[in-house]
Amino acid sequence: MNFYITYFIIAIGLFAFVAVFTLFGVYAERKLSAFIQDRLGPTEVGKFGLLQTLADIIKLIQKELIIPAPADKVLFLMAPVIIFVAVYLGFAALPWAPGLAPANINIGLYYILAIISIETLGILMAGWGSNNKYSILGAMRSAAQIISYEIPAGFALISVVMIAQTLNLQDISLQQGILSAEKTKFLGFWDVSATGGILSWNIFRAPHLIVAFVIYFIASLAESNRAPFDIPEAESELVAGFHTEFTGLQFALVFLAEYAMMFLVSMVGVILFLGAWNTPLPNMGAVQLATWTTGTAWGIFWILAKTLTLVVIQMWIRWTLPRLRVDQLMNLCWKVLTPLAFLCMLISGIWRLWLM
């Protein structure tokens, strides 16, 4: 029965990680936005304002839970939980290092795509349960946006899967480094199985995957409702969108879900396109950099570094670009990203058959 205890410890550990990430993610976002807008950001609480978000969460926990009188109480109370749990469940399948994955599922990638789509349901639940016109408008916008952007994201992921020939995230990670069992070719002609490093990442094994990565990254911004795709919670039009009515702990859960989602989509992007937990340093003759920097601790370090870089880029984009209008959003998805993603899938098939 020991492994049941291990399961619980892993689940609690992942939750703790998500919570800590959210705390520092909010702090980093505020500092970054302050830097971009030439302000100071939080400075008062702790050194450089480091404890600001901790103070914020203590405040949120103390707040009274207010349920609006016309709200559907059950749906209103359940919604933030479902939104968060949907994202949190996705973390179960992510590999962190060679041989270290909470659940090594054969169809890991497909599972993550499925479990994330439950978030839409939670958002619709929140919108309807609040019984508030701004909430319901936000929820409708959010659902329309997430469903539309799942299509280019899905096809970008399929083009990777066609190259990798597996849905198991740990196997996909293994293929992109020196631990790979099969031959890895840089751009389809140069055998880099022993060299490893940045040369054997998926985006360099098949260069059209760079396009697929950009498509996936744009779509993942839309799926986590971040600017420039934040019309579901557009402050200037909808107050705060689907979470207008939430206070205290429920609001904290929605926020936790948003930051967990940012981390999750970035990590999936890293695993599929940017070499997962593999080192970017190649082996060069006697200087065996790739061999030296591969291992469990190194794996966790590399995947965290890459994922956090992508998260920072997400924040950077949020504070740089203005919000898209609804019709522009749909045009971008259906007339630009979807055909491009289809093209990537087609090239993937040809690449796999003739060049690998």
Partner: protein, 183 residues
């Protein structure tokens, strides 16, 4: 009773109880959200039957697609239409329910018949598979199998379904298109 059986009965109870709630609830939105639990429980039963691909597909298509579509249709329709739907007369037996009752009763007879006639413990095909040592194990890769079968043995049905979906897509695009002359 081993742990798999316990899990099976818990899941089956969740599925049936939530399905009963969906059918009996007066509040339409709540029954839609309850339907989510039914589908999720079904996915759990599929996992228990080692059909993990089917389970995940169930969630992608029904929860991520169909259920959200139902909610969309619900939220976009007017309050009057929904009011009529929600205010059905409380009579338990009425003539308008006769076809549904008949259908349900017939289906029930079929189910009972199936349960009584099959000898679950001695099914010939299960014996064959066990004898050939070809039973599926929890760690087996199923997607390769599904892909190969779809592209060889079941290619014709697969293509027929693709054409059907294509027709639906073209039809939807045609309906949504702006008519010439109307702005």
């Amino acid at each position: 009773m081993n742990i798999a059986q316990v899990i099976f009965y818990v899941m089956a109870f969740v599925v049936i109880a939530s399905a009963l709630f969906v059918a009996s609830s007066k509040n339409l939105v709540r029954s839609i959200f309850m339907f989510f639990i039914t589908l999720f429980g079904l996915a759990g039963l599929y996992v228990l039957a080692l059909a993990d691909f089917v389970a995940v597909t169930q969630i992608v298509i029904y929860v991520g697609g169909v259920l959200v579509l139902i909610l969309f249709a619900f939220m976009l329709s007017g309050k009057e239409t929904l009011g009529i739907l929600q205010q059905q007369k409380g009579k338990f037996i009425s003539v308008s329910k006769l076809p549904a009752l008949l259908l349900a009763a017939l289906f029930f007879v079929v189910m009972v018949n199936v349960v009584l006639k099959t000898d679950v413990n001695n099914l010939p095909w299960i014996k064959q598979v066990t004898a050939a040592n070809a039973a599926i194990k929890p760690n087996d890769l199923m997607i390769d199998n599904i892909g190969i079968n779809l592209m060889t043995r079941y290619l014709l049905p697969f293509e027929a379904i693709s054409i059907l979906l294509m027709m639906a897509l073209v039809g939807a695009a045609h309906l949504a298109r702006k008519e010439r002359g109307a702005i």
